[in-house]
Amino acid sequence: MTRGILGYGTHVPYYRLQRSAIGAALGSGGGKGSRAVAGYDEDATSMSVEAARLALKSFDAPTPAAVYFSSVTPPYLDKTNANAIHAALNYPSSVFASDMVGSVRSTSGALNAALNDRRPVLITAADVRTGRPGSSDEAQLGDAAAAVLIGSEADAPIIAEWIGSSFATHEFLDRWRSPGWEYSRVWEERFGESVYQSLITEAVTQVLKDTELSAADMDKVIISGLHSRAVRSGAGAAGMSAVPMAEDLTAKIGNVGSAQSLLSLANTLDSASPNETIMLITLADGCDVTIFRTTDAIANYTPAQKVSAQIAQGNDSLDYAKFLTWRGWLDREPPRRPDPAAPAGPPSERNTEWKFAFMGSRDRSTGTIHLPPQRVSVKGGAVDDMEMVPMADVEATVATFTIDRLAFSPSPPTIAVVIDFDGGGRFTSQLADAAADEVEIGMRVRMTFRRMLTADGVHNYFWKATPVRQGPQPN
């Protein structure tokens, strides 16, 4: 059975930290360019939802049989993170959801499992990359998510056909992190580079043999991995020095860890023509190689938002102190207010469609939309004559707003907006990824899935409004 990519989407968070800001604060380090920074209200799960939503918006997507979530920074242990993604996408309970977390190689695992399945499978990969202040990881890594829907021609047109895969697995000490650490440790880099080079040679040789292809058949090579030195020398080890390399996004957004391979693949597909052969090489405790070939269908595939557009819309004015605060490296004095409460289990369970999928209820007799869902209509008072209506993808307009300087927030002040949805429905929401001086009555907003807060170790996932932004942002 022919398998391949049916669709994809990414989420590069709005904020950027200019690497020079690190050097300015610490006196050394940092470097050039910028890294993508997840908002204080984002994590690997919420960013995965955003990436998946864009993927599903890009084409007539089938409901997958499974959702796999890959991350080195899963918000939960012991509890399946993929379930929140599953709930946000409003999938039926018959859709399987599972995590593949802990190492960057989990993304290769999810991709391999999806390609070898017979049914449509959604995979998301996301990391919030942290490093100790002044470290190379802090400056060079970044936060992002990518989502890919894998399936067969029967599910939807395949835009990139799976040609073959190979793997070289090897136990060696390159990069590691004990559970609970907020940063990783790495061995001296020349050692890892030498190991990776032989693994690359082994895996690439194998896949070319299996697929009866040669380097000359490749139109583009993507090399992904956290070992930047091995990535740079990887093309030579693969015998692909003559093949065009995929665009290196690390100067603009950093290396995004678990999401790096799929994000680079998405960026490559954004500008790919039919019949291009793409080799994806991932270096993570081994070497994983996957070959795709674009089909005629890619000409008709329009990404809801290209990776380049997401990168261009970033705001690089984030200051270093705020970045440290968001990631928990700076323990700031909280307001003299009660600690926020965790969402309770039973009410969250009763309201799953509302809380996770942002479904409202529409009164059948008057058409009035209610957010949150109501049993009795606010117009006309009809009782229990409601149908659930998805509102997450409906845009809205700010009716009035305020800047709340008293409310608890990891990044005060909180911006609150009363928004009226196109076609009906009103909600009072927080405004994400916006500055206090840019909000105004009449502003256009869309909904975004966020981690509102964490209390008692419970992550409160829900939706916020965020400005609809057109084109690149001023620096």
């Binding site: 926020p340 409460a341 969250s348 809380k355 009035t400 305020t402 800047i403 709340d404 008293l406 509102m452």
Partner: protein
Amino acid sequence: MGQRGIKDQVAIVGMGCTRFGEHFDQSIDDMIIEAAHAAYDSAGIRQDDVDAFWFGTLSSGTSGLTISKPLKIDYKPVTRVENMCASGSEAFRNAAYAVASGAFDVVMAIGAEKLKDNGMSGLVGTPVPDDGTKAAITAPASFSLLAPAYGKKYGVDRDQMKEVMARIAWKNHYNGARNPRAQFQKEVSMEKICNAPLIAGDLGIFDCSGVSDGSAAAILCRAEDAHKYTDNPLYVKALAFTSGPGAGPLDPDYDYTTFTEVARCAEDAYEQAGVTDPRTEIAMAEVHDCFTPTELVLMEDLQFSGRGEGWQDVLSGTFDLDGELPVNPDGGLKSFGHPIGASGLRMLFECWLQLRKEAPADRQILSVDKGKTLGMTHNLGGRPGECVSFASIVGTELG
């Protein structure tokens, strides 16, 4: 079916009110004892003369025991009521109905709140477990939503709105400076108000009411018995209360320039009292100025100003102490302070003083001398779009 009201059936014959403020040296018990005994003394009665009690508090206690234990009430009915910031008014309303029903001869309504023991800034809610999807915005933020909406609708620019809000705060501080029971007894300049640190939206610290401790109480009896206790009773002319569908946060037709609950409540109160032109008939009003834009919008909801004209009336001094219709002559929530459960009864206490010409000379309103006999209190709980609203009208004359 029908709202009949109890005009002229019930009288207030005694009142007590503590000073409001940061009473770190007083417990809720101390304040309840002070307000209750001040009310007994005012009516010339003893606690044993009171047949039943209604007690309003938001969160400073539960059940009738909160007052019966400190007061050592001798096995009488005590009802604890809660209706957010209108809890004190709600205690009064239900106490009045009990008298009107004939069930009791003499009752007390008392409200109290102890807010300053928790060590927090601002008002602290009592959240019930939920799904974590409610907009977690504070009280000043939710009321500040009124300002940009009002400004946009009526073409009042941001600087003008700031001036209007400051003018309200300035007035209430001016009035509070003449009130020995007020939390803040100092005049504050317009300049200082306008330049104060922002709390929410364009609301600065002086646009917000005081978080305070306090208690207030009233003794009620049937109107025909009133003169047994005082020569100058206040008669209850109207008691109105509304709690609605909370449509504002759901319905795009709600534009954040009005409190629908208040407008409906006011209509009801005026009908009960037979008031047809509130601006000219009412001698004074105590209104729920929890934040300055609230008072602005209330001027229109209570029909003191036309729609979109309240801001001009504010600026021209219509509601000043010596204006056409004094509003919050005691300093209001802004300057008197807002110990939640006590506030509704504190408003009635100012009517008690002013209509009976017992207010301090530098605060006594002049409208009473012009033959106006009616005072209004307005008290709300909740936030724009979803609130409960209380309105009362009391007067010195029957009929």
